[in-house]
């Protein structure tokens, strides 16, 4: 995850410490279990299975069910098997683009439709990999928030590197959240949001891109083509009931490129797009 995480709690000191402990342990548990950088965890077993079926535990199965549903709902734009595209795409600000052939070769190993998922058994084609980075963090925020809320009903804010969830009583002074300006000075003023309950998640540019012949390739890749999405905003922040929902909406908005604002407007959610 590699982001600073914090818990802001209005409960009494002892309870707040317990909440912090519960949140931290849950965050580390989820990271160890689902990170693709760890050996021996369920994701590693799936990614090294080389075509053989892998049976997964109920929590992993829930995440795979969610990923499958989102793959359907997003017409294939959201795809946890798209991670292998990083083998040919390195977004370091240079002008090194992969060739169409290189992308085509990797694309053969991308696509949730090439996997067979029948709970609890997942079978990937050889060479395929899954990456839960696109849902892991927001899922961890929601899980941690549920644990914190179970310990006390006082307002509590979980913040994992800018993805937030506020739980507890709603009748209180809201949490003040700032969305930073993005881009050349003066282009986008900072926004202030009063969050009393619910989640905010942000998908962003993080200055990762490639530049060639005057065309800027953002790091958001469309898994259906293997190429970057064009016209994506620099950053999208969405407010939703849970961090998982907010994260998915902001990710999908980025994947919609130039249509990001139109997409979010149609969903009727509160959003802030910076270009």
């Amino acid at each position: 995850m590699a982001s600073p995480c914090e818990v802001l709690s209005r409960a009494g000191r002892t309870v707040a410490r317990e909440q912090l402990r519960a949140v931290a342990e849950e965050a580390w548990r989820i990271e160890e279990k689902f990170s693709r950088y760890r050996t021996g965890n369920v994701v590693d077993r799936i990614n090294t299975a080389q075509g053989t079926p892998v049976d997964v535990d109920p929590e992993t199965a829930d995440l795979l069910d969610f990923a499958a549903e989102l793959h359907r709902l997003s017409d294939g734009r959201f795809d946890i098997t798209s991670g292998v595209l990083r083998e040919v795409w390195t977004f370091d600000g240079s002008d090194r683009l992969p060739t169409a052939r290189e992308v085509g070769r990797v694309l053969g190993r991308v696509g949730w439709d090439k996997a067979t998922w029948v709970r609890p058994r997942l079978t990937l084609a050889p060479g395929m990999q899954i990456d839960l980075g696109g849902i892991g963090k927001e899922y961890a925020v929601d899980r941690a928030a549920l644990l914190a809320a179970a310990l006390d009903s006082a307002p509590c804010l979980i913040n994992f590197g800018g993805d937030l969830m506020a739980v507890g009583e709603t009748n209180h002074v809201p949490w003040q959240v700032g969305i930073e300006a993005v881009g050349p000075n003066g282009g986008n003023p900072a926004r202030h949001i009063a969050l009393a309950r619910g989640a905010l998640a942000t998908s962003g540019d993080a200055r990762r891109f490639l530049l060639r012949d005057g065309v800027r390739y953002s790091h958001i890749l469309d898994p259906r083509s293997g190429w970057p999405v064009t016209g994506a905003p620099r950053s999208v922040t969405v407010a939703a009931d849970t961090c998982t929902q907010a994260g998915m909406l902001s990710t999908l908005a980025m994947l919609m490129g130039g249509e990001a604002e139109a997409f979010l407007a149609r969903q009727g959610v509160r959003y802030w797009c910076m270009r």
Binding site: E69, D75, L211, D241, T242
Partner: protein, 443 residues
């Protein structure tokens, strides 16, 4: 992407519901609690304080500028501007230095002032306090358009301005090419001290306001602008604007005069005030400008971003039907300094040709329809060199200090010199220092 997929694009109303259901399933909860998130309108304030001082006891200006912007949800912005200017000092009246003592009647007609031989005559009448207010409302109109409407108002003791402006911007090319259209109309009212002088009327003795028009004068201005900005690539942004400005009504400066001179020597013509009063010792006439002026401007600007530094280069060309042509070339380089600071050296060059009716003095017996000796209508070059230092404070507010040096060099075309007149004496240089201190913060 999208509409060709027949109803299942992630844009149908079903999407949010199905996402919610999938999330509840994942988290093992029955339902979610509705989010309560509201954008707070914020005020962003920019304030600056400016000191402008010309050499040789000419004009000094102290100016306070406040701009307040309130950002509402849905990208609506309300802004207010307030400018307070306090001007002191004196400005050339248009009369030329002579080898003799000169006496002038003040525009009010109540008093006289005297200028020594060889001195450039300066008039301090216009010095004053000025207040200006602006209010603008800006909001998106649909997905690709942004519109704005604004009011402007300013007042000083002899001048009032009221204006209305509109603007609309449309984004093209996935927001890489905004196109803007703007229009502004204004009505200004001038109430010169003593009344507006009749065109080319002679300057009279104290108490003589016979050659003045009673009441106030009006000026109407219409401005139109069209501009396009193009994001060329990650580093470069280019903007081109064309604007048209049309003024009609009273365009004279009611306090500016011309010295009447001998056509052979170029010296002043002596005059004797009426017995028992004081008045000018030479002949002068009030200026006269056309009652219409149309200006065309073309502005081209490029901003180049290179790893934290920003180079801003621009050129403006202006031409009008008074035959003034001008060019402004400006370059600024913003250079980051440390974590939160930056320096910005800047250089500007301005050059203009004279108005068709500009003349430093008027030969006796000649009464053209239009004539003005105002140095601002004369040919001149001006340089500005400056350095700004800015930084972001720990709380994210921006502060800056800028020092600039301005130098203006006029020249009088030989053909407009009469007799023994010396071009250098008639258009002395102007030096000024400008110090600006600025601070921006959020409320």
């Amino acid at each position: 992407m999208g509409a060709t997929d027949g109803g299942r694009e992630p844009g149908s109303g079903q999407f949010v519901q199905r996402l919610a259901a999938a999330t509840c399933s994942l988290l093992g909860i029955g339902s979610t609690v509705p989010v309560l998130a509201q954008e707070e309108p914020t005020w962003a304030l920019d304030t600056s304080f400016l000191y402008y001082g010309e050499s040789d006891e000419r004009v000094q200006d102290l100016s306070l500028n406040v701009l307040a912007r309130r950002l509402f949800a849905d990208d609506k912005v309300l802004s207010f501007g307030l400018v307070y200017d306090s001007l002191t000092g004196a400005s050339p009246s248009g009369a030329i230095p002579l080898n003799e003592v000169q006496t002038f009647t003040r525009p009010s007609g109540n008093d006289v002032y005297t200028v020594q031989p060889g001195e450039l005559p300066l008039d301090d009448t216009f010095l004053d306090t000025r207040y200006a207010l602006t209010a603008t409302w800006q909001q998106p109109l649909g997905r690709l358009y942004t519109g704005s409407v604004g009011l402007s108002f300013s007042t000083e003791y002899d001048y009032t301005h009221a204006g209305l402006n509109f603007g609309i911007t449309r984004d093209f090319n996935t927001r890489n090419t905004p196109l803007s259209l703007g229009a502004a109309i204004a009505r200004d009212e001038i109430d010169p001290e003593g009344g507006a002088p009749l065109p080319l009327a002679p300057m009279g003795n104290i108490g003589d306001l016979s050659a003045r028009r009673p009441g106030t004068e009006d000026k109407d201005v219409v401005d139109l602008l069209i501009g396009v900005t193009q994001v060329v690539n990650e580093h470069l942004l280019v903007q081109v604007n064309y604007s048209l400005s049309d003024s009609s009504g009273y365009l004279n400066d009611p306090y500016k005069i011309l010295t009447v001179v001998d056509p052979a020597t170029g010296e002043g013509i002596a005059r004797v005030p009426a017995p028992g009063t004081a008045g000018p010792l030479h002949e002068y006439r009030f200026e006269s400008r056309p009652d219409q002026r149309t200006k065309h401007s073309l502005f081209v600007q490029g901003k180049y971003y290179m790893g934290g530094k920003v180079l801003d280069v621009s050129w403006r060309y202006m031409t009008d039907d008074w035959e003034i042509d001008s060019h402004t070339l400006e370059a600024k380089l913003r250079w980051p300094l440390g974590d939160r600071g930056w320096v910005e050296p800047h250089l500007r060059f301005y050059t203009q040709t004279e108005a068709e009716f500009y003349r430093p003095s008027l030969p006796v017996g000649e009464l053209p329809e239009f004539a003005s000796a105002d140095y601002r209508l004369a040919p001149f070059d001006a340089w500005t060199a400056g350095l700004k230092y800015g930084f972001r404070t720990a709380s994210g507010n921006e502060a800056g200090i800028r020092l600039e040096y301005y130098r203006q060099d006029g020249s009088v075309p030989d053909g407009l010199l009469i007799g023994n007149q010396d071009g250098d004496a008639l258009s002395p240089e102007l030096d000024a220092v400008i110090l600006t201190v600025s601070y921006g913060f959020d409320l």
